[in-house]
């Protein structure tokens, strides 16, 4: 197939599908229903390290986890979640919560939406680990 046809077709196809998905409401981020859901999301990534304490943020978009090994965070990856330990993290407050830089090529930065009280509380808690 000539590139003069292939390139526009691929470009239009990709952008058209992305716009359609967004219009269908399929850009919504995952939320954690409750602490049990946050616990399950953590164990899905780290099955050998059970959470000792789970702190859900106010909009249930993320959770702070404490385990025997250390602290970690669960956050949305689109309609799903992922989780990481926070060793070596650099944490900065933003207008809407916290920005976390991780020394991890597969999860370089996390943007957490927190209210003012949570921001201070989570930052203190996270800096103990990082």
């Amino acid at each position: 197939m000539p590139l003069s046809i292939l390139v526009p077709m691929v470009g239009l196809g990709i952008s058209g599908i992305a716009v359609l998905l967004h219009l269908l409401g399929l850009s919504r981020q995952a939320t954690l229903a409750d602490e049990a859901a946050a616990r399950a999301a953590w164990l899905r990534e780290f099955p050998g390290d059970a959470p000792l304490r789970v702190t859900l943020c106010h909009d249930r978009s993320a959770a702070l986890i404490a385990t025997d090994t250390g602290r970690g965070v669960i956050w949305p990856m689109g309609a799903d979640t992922t989780a990481r330990y926070l060793n070596g993290a650099q944490i900065k407050p933003t207008r809407t919560g916290l920005h976390i830089d991780l020394p991890d090529y597969t999860a370089p930065r996390i943007q957490l939406t927190l209210d003012a009280g949570e921001t201070a509380e989570w930052q203190n808690s996270l800096e103990e680990t990082a």
Binding site: M1, M9, S27, A107
Partner: protein
């Protein structure tokens, strides 16, 4: 010897079909409210990976094709281009695919290229297009060398490889349950391939087939989809980014970081490249074998069931 043979670039010609089928699957899910899940950024990443795969083929394809043409110059054999020979080439190339795919899960250097295909937590037709950008660097083209030395023309070998890839497109769906029994017995199907994309301990490292599932049955790597254990899609450690560049290169970066850390022997550095994913010099990480063993310690009742070997003194 015939070296001016051409075959159509079937993968590029299939692009309109790919787009139409994705729209059809999406419509089906939207109307029926079941049969899979879509998410915008995940699908966009998959589609960009697919576009990048085509681009890398255009940019780097000459390396593989040049290698094949050298082999074609060397071989005294020419099996021609009859329909029978194309069919035979298709079957043998599918056997080649099985082994390359198996190496892709068991040798970290090859996994570094293949991992991106497994990096979505979704399983839909866009996942099929989440393809590697770095396949050339795995040197797995050497596994095709016997086909060309046997007398199959390089253009034919690439043509049947394209057909193989197109076949595998439709099996990346949750919208189809099981096919008729005879079909499930011989062919790779959505059910068999869902299992391959599972991160459940039971479903790790199995069902490597491209078109014919018989290869897994012959070589002992077949695991059926279990009704009682829903497939959990994604990687053992799921990515925290949708950035296609990070998706494409993250395992290569991981190999580089691991193999260049101070204090290792040269053998340990080499092992970080060629041992199965999860291998580490100090045993601090888990391979799929270790993950299965750990799973059976907490679920001993599952030992000996498909995908989970019987408990032995070694695994206890």
């Amino acid at each position: 010897m015939s070296d001016m043979i051409t075959f159509p670039d079937v993968v590029n010609w299939a692009v309109p079909f790919f787009i139409a089928a994705i729209l059809a699957e999406l419509l089906w899910i939207a109307i029926r409210g079941r049969g899979g899940r879509y998410e915008t950024r995940d699908a966009l990443t998959s589609l960009l990976m697919g576009a990048g795969n085509v681009a890398s083929g255009i940019l780097l394809g000459f390396i593989t094709y040049g290698f094949f043409m050298v082999l074609w110059e060397i071989t005294p054999l020419d099996l021609g281009t009859s329909v029978t020979m194309i069919a035979l080439c298709f079957v043998l190339d599918d056997l080649r695919y099985y082994w390359v795919h198996r190496f892709g899960h068991r040798i970290r250097w090859v996994w570094a290229s293949h991992v991106n295909h497994h990096s979505s937590q979704h399983y839909n037709l866009t996942t099929a297009l989440r393809q590697t950008w770095t396949g050339t660097f795995t040197f797995m083209m050497v596994v095709r060398a016997p086909l060309i030395l046997l007398g199959f023309h390089p253009a034919m070998v690439l043509f049947v490889g394209g057909l193989n890839l197109i076949y595998q497109f439709w099996i990346h769906t949750d919208a189809i349950g099981k096919m008729p029994r005879w079909f499930e017995a011989v062919m790779n199907t959505p059910s068999h391939h869902r299992v391959h994309h599972g991160r459940n301990p039971r479903y790790l490292d199995c069902n490597y087939a491209g078109v014919f599932i018989i290869w897994d049955k012959i070589f002992g790597t077949f695991v059926p989809e279990m009704e009682e254990e829903k497939v959990d899609y994604g990687l053992v450690h799921n990515l925290g980014t949708f950035n296609p560049i990070r998706v494409a290169f993250h395992e290569w970066m991981g190999i580089f970081r691991d193999a260049t850390q101070p204090g290792l022997t040269w053998r340990e550095r080499l092992n970080y490249c060629i041992m199965p994913p999860g291998w580490s010099h100090d045993g601090s990480r888990e391979t799929s074998t270790a993950i299965k063993a750990r799973h059976m310690q907490t679920h001993p009742e599952a030992s000996g069931t498909p995908g989970l070997p019987p408990l032995t003194e070694h695994t206890l």
